[in-house]
């Protein structure tokens, strides 16, 4: 033990003591669903989906105003099924065309107590309606010009 230290706190906060923090593999914390709300968001989500993720499913919310969830391959999925078993949903929007889907996903997450986060790419104003639809449900809204935010968010959450 290096020292001398004047208190337990001083010793415990030292760099020497940091070496004794328990190290063991951390399992992915989340079983995530990432849902694109509009066409440009879909392109972003497809790029992000190409990366390696531990427990993440990537989806498209629908066509324009129509809420019709499907996989990136185009296979239809019921919204209820999509939200079953997940503990975090990240929706991605770039404009207002996904406002209905935003509301539907947000409400679905609310009913199931699923943590909801929204990443709104662009200047924010183009997606005002989508943001407004998400606001009551999304615990976090990230308004950003940088699509890297989605990657960083998922990485930080250990998805």
């Amino acid at each position: 033990m290096a020292g001398p230290y004047l208190s337990e706190s001083a010793r415990a906060a030292s760099a020497a003591e940091s070496r004794f923090r328990i190290t063991r593999p951390i399992a992915p914390a989340r079983d995530a669903r990432i849902i694109a709300l509009d066409d440009r968001a879909a392109a972003v989500v497809r790029r992000v989906a190409d990366r390696t993720w531990a427990r993440a499913g990537f989806y498209l919310a629908g066509d324009g105003d129509r809420v019709a969830p499907r996989t990136l391959d185009g296979a239809p999925v019921a919204l209820a099924d999509l939200l079953t078993g997940t503990d975090v949903v990240v929706v991605v929007a770039t404009d207002d065309t996904g406002r209905n889907a935003a509301a539907a996903v947000g409400a679905g997450c609310g009913e199931r107590a699923v943590m909801t986060a929204g990443v709104v790419l662009g200047d924010g104003f183009a997606a005002d309606d989508a943001v407004a639809a998400l606001r009551p449900h999304a615990r976090v809204l990230l308004l950003s010009a940088d699509e890297g935010d989605l990657v960083d968010l998922l990485t930080a959450l250990r998805v």
């Binding site: 230290y5 004047l6 208190s7 337990e8 706190s9 001083a10 415990a12 906060a13 030292s14 760099a15 003591e17 940091s18 923090r21 190290t23 951390i26 914390a29 975090v88 943590m115 986060a117 924010g124 005002d128 943001v131 407004a132 606001r135 009551p136 999304a138 615990r139 976090v140 809204l141 990230l142 308004l143 950003s144 010009a145 940088d146 890297g148 935010d149 960083d152 968010l153 990485t155 930080a156 959450l157 250990r158």
Partner: protein
């Protein structure tokens, strides 16, 4: 979580490191003006960004910030005699002016030009507000002086303190944009601290312990909006601005003064926390100023003659478990500043961010790290000027407002988060 290489990049600020170079693009606080109170006052040791320096105010009132060590034999100029427009090493009498230029070497011949070739590293030291600021980067890229509002209101409207924090700057800074801890760690202070208590907003804070967050990019950094339920159909928003690299403001409470922080790396294991309070439209009352001096609000009670808090890691932060049981403090540590510092220091000098388990509510921190990382890399690889260098970016305020549920804080608070000299803060 954060990759180890990124954690190292963000936390290492010495010369030649990407983050160190980033910090060297900005004017940063070097010390409080009160530390050099008069001409020829004693020199002060200053360690910044892992460089050891000494600050002094010469006989003509000029501030100098120069290499701490004499060019001759390496003795510390903290022992120097500050007299007759220069700092003289007491070992062999070598004397330096405020620019670090050697102006006298007594052992040389009277007309010798030897000392003309001896110059210590030096940085500018400029008083703006109650602080002395320095710029440690390329003089050719020196930006305009800081324009943060707390520096430019009349002296009777502002107060700044500082304290030594025994942790890396990043974990201290991250507390400044982490709005969700307030309801827990600082809950005692919302009820009793003379600089916080009594505001209507405190009730919203305490009633709704699960805030929603909106994080928005700005030219200079970020706005982090924390939203809580207020009256039916309305939300209480607390809006925290961050200006790169290390300036944050706490959303205000009622008519209390506004406050915030600037975190400055001393080295990779220590930082200075500069904490300020100011009111945009009125003088601080005697009671308010005394409360700040006594360590209330965001300030700390320091050991007299030092900037080390009285409650520190060497005395277990004077933790009082009985006060905790009585509900006076949430963690047992008294004071907002030391409540934060005790936990941030407990993480170790540089927390291992590869082991974190972040949640979406940490999005402000996630985004800030990304912005710092990208800016440091863009500076290193492309020479790109980072956000927050332009003094225009400094003209931001925090705000605390109640808005109709459908309104965006960004749209509705566009004016509230801008500095308008003479206009009151937006506060509930």
């Amino acid at each position: 979580m954060l990759r180890q290489d990124i954690n190292e990049l963000l936390t290492q600020t010495g010369p030649g490191t990407p983050m160190g170079e980033l910090f060297r693009q900005y004017w940063i606080p070097a010390l409080l003006a009160e530390e050099l109170p008069e001409n020829d006052s004693p020199p002060v040791r200053v360690k910044l960004l892992s460089e050891r320096l000494v600050a002094f105010r010469d006989s003509e009132g000029r501030y100098g910030l120069i290499d701490e060590f004499c060019a001759h034999r390496g003795a510390s100029l903290w022992f120097g005699r500050n007299e007759e427009a220069g700092l003289r090493c007491p070992y062999h009498g070598w004397k330096y002016d405020h620019t670090g230029q050697c102006i006298e070497v007594p052992s040389e011949a009277d007309n010798s030009s030897f000392c003309e070739n001896v110059k210590l590293t030096s940085y500018p030291l400029v008083k703006v507000g109650d602080l002395l600021w320095t710029h440690m980067g390329d003089p050719a890229k020196r930006p305009g002086l800081p324009e943060y509002e707390f520096l430019h209101v009349p002296p009777e409207q502002t107060y700044t303190s500082k304290r030594w924090q025994q942790s890396n700057w990043l974990q201290a800074f991250e507390g400044g944009i982490d709005s969700s801890h307030v309801t827990f760690l600082h809950s005692g202070g919302l009820k009793s601290d003379p600089l916080f208590k009594g505001a209507k907003g405190n009730e919203y804070n305490m009633k709704d312990t699960k805030p929603f967050f909106e994080v928005a990019d700005t030219e200079g950094g970020l706005f982090v909006g924390a939203r809580r339920n207020a009256e039916p159909g309305t939300y209480y928003w607390r809006i925290t601005p961050w200006v790169m690299p290390a300036f944050t403001m706490v959303p205000p409470r009622g008519d209390h003064p506004m406050h915030g922080h600037f975190w400055v790396p001393i080295d990779d294991h220590n930082c200075w926390t500069y904490s300020f309070d100011y009111h945009p439209v009125r003088s601080l009352t005697e009671q308010e100023r005394q409360a700040m001096i006594d360590g209330h609000g965001v300030h700390s009670k320091n050991i007299p003659g030092t900037y080390r808090p009285m409650a520190n890691m060497d005395n277990d932060y004077l933790i009082d478990r009985e006060a905790q049981k009585r509900g006076e403090t949430y963690s047992g540590v008294a004071g907002i500043a030391m409540q934060d510092a005790s936990l941030q220091e407990s993480m170790g000098p540089i927390v291992d961010r590869t082991k974190e388990r972040l949640v979406p509510a940490d999005s402000g921190i996630i985004k800030a790290r990304q912005k710092l990382y990208k800016s440091a890399v863009a500076l290193r690889d492309k020479g790109q000027t980072p956000p927050g260098v332009d003094p225009e970016h400094h003209r931001v305020r925090s705000a605390a407002v109640v808005l109709p549920a459908a309104e965006s804080f960004l749209d509705s608070c566009r004016d509230a988060v801008k500095v308008v000299p003479g206009a009151p803060q937006a506060s509930v």
